[in-house]
Amino acid sequence: MDVQGGDAGVDQTLTLTAASRARPRAGNLSFLLPFARGHARIRPKMRAQVTLGMKRHGKWLIIVPPMLYLLVFFLIPFAFALKISLADTAVRVPPFTDIFTVSPDWHAHVALNFGNFKYLFTDEVYGLSYFYSIKTAFFSTLICLALGYPMAYAIARTSKSTQSILLLIIILPFWTSFLLRVYALEGIIRETGLLNSALLWLGIIHQPLQIMRTTFAVYLGIIYSYLPFMVLPLFATLEKLDHSLLEAAADLGSPPWRAFIDVTLPLSMPGIIAGSMLVFIPAIGEFVIPTLLGGPDNLMIGRVLWDEFFGNRDWPVASAVAIAFLVLLVGPIALYQHNSSKQLEA
């Protein structure tokens, strides 16, 4: 290749980079749907104007029902949780005191109890379980990324028809019950399960391995359950990666690993972030996996919440745990939403 051709390559690389940056829409969760490919392509002709002739009140008839429903049954409940986290436990139904009362002579009383939040700091089980949940979710996310990235990359490099089949294979378990899949995993890793039987039969081990009720089992469960969450957004960005960029890098003398680090990795960043958030956030709150697969040490926050609620029936403290948990989660979610909206703007 002569010098001039090389220059053209650089030029092309720059324009293509700009073009590909604009395209990946990792913020749109539609990649979770079966056969979600192609959703990202919005027709350029799409008209932005409000439907002609639609009367003002007609418009509100469409907006208000879903808005009201989600407001009342999804958003406002958080306000109730906050209210109850400031109440005291009481032996009655419901098992907490009113924080706002009006006495017969029309004097309003507000009794706020911040003790529940103070309690979260004094009893170390909460701090430890928060920390433990974050640690577990973080390392599971890393392992999912390490396993999911090559999978997504391999799928993105197969032909279109193979892609559809492989995607369906990955998506199918995502829609299948977590509970049942965790239960199915138990059938493999328990003491008399398939794994131990196979290893014993092969003579690799002489005593069955204790996998159930260990930290390893919790990791295995989370990775097994959330791997599709990682693969799908990664695929969504890797699929749109322009292969000529890699060729251009190769023409300019990059070895493949270098081209991967310089071109593929930065361009797939939206997918990496979206996938990591989709694994990390639900993994922190995971309840079923540590309960069924973990031992007594695997105190994740979801499990603590559940026990506080159903075991101790201490609703105010459980609400305080939930509110504190939510505040800790808002960071990652905000980051995710920020990333999504940036994608949408592009």
């Binding site: 979600a36 002739g53 032909s159 138990e186």
Partner: protein, 276 residues
Amino acid sequence: MSDRVPPLLISILCIGIAVLYLPILVLIAYSFNASSLVSVWGGFSTGWYTELLHNDQILDAARLSLEIGVVVSTAAVILGTLAAIALVRFKVFRGRLLLTGMVNAPLVMPEIITGITQLLLFVSMLHLFGWPHRGFTTIVIAHVAFCTAYVTITVQSRLQTADRSLEEAAMDLGSGPVRAFLDTTLPGIAPALASSWLLSFTLSLDDLVISSFVSGPGASTLPMVIFSKVKLGVSPDVNALASLIICLVGACVLLAGYLMRRTERQRMQDMHLADH
């Protein structure tokens, strides 16, 4: 970009897929095990399936779960479609950001938090208004909230790609906007509605955590019954039940995928025709 895929990538992909499917296949295989010892293969038998038919606790739970699933997915499709229309067609309205947030949040919110907060709402509402009593009603209300989010996302992505020229033509010919939408765009997105109904149904059928919180005494859904059985250890009748549910859900998802794929292909054909 279909060229030679490195063998290392292919092997990782195969291992990943094997990891995803092996436990399910083993579970289904063991559901046909005649032996009641879960680790010993005692020959082929469908005995655990016939046993399910005589287990009243499981049958009641299954009936409850199916009823909840039908009501939930129908309501969620209606609300989710309205939300999708609002988000796609009305670019500017008060509360648009709020609606966008409320549609996306349930997808990333840990179920345990949604469950607790909704239970607290229901308890407070019962205390104030004497409604709703915990059970069927509260499970339906809670499920509709997160299913609506999934429906909105599905229908939204379909509506964005829907061609509006037919609808505009209908309005030019004198149809009102609602009439024009119902006559032209709705049939076009109907498969997306059907597939989001199926997906809501599977989500509702599978939910354990939220149901456990908002349900009351006497209303145990199928996942709740399975969870309490599984906590006690592996039992062969749960193998059979789990296999049945996995097959039912798998069939629903495949059907949903097929419906969406067909509309996609139809749309591509239409666009192709329109270009020539």
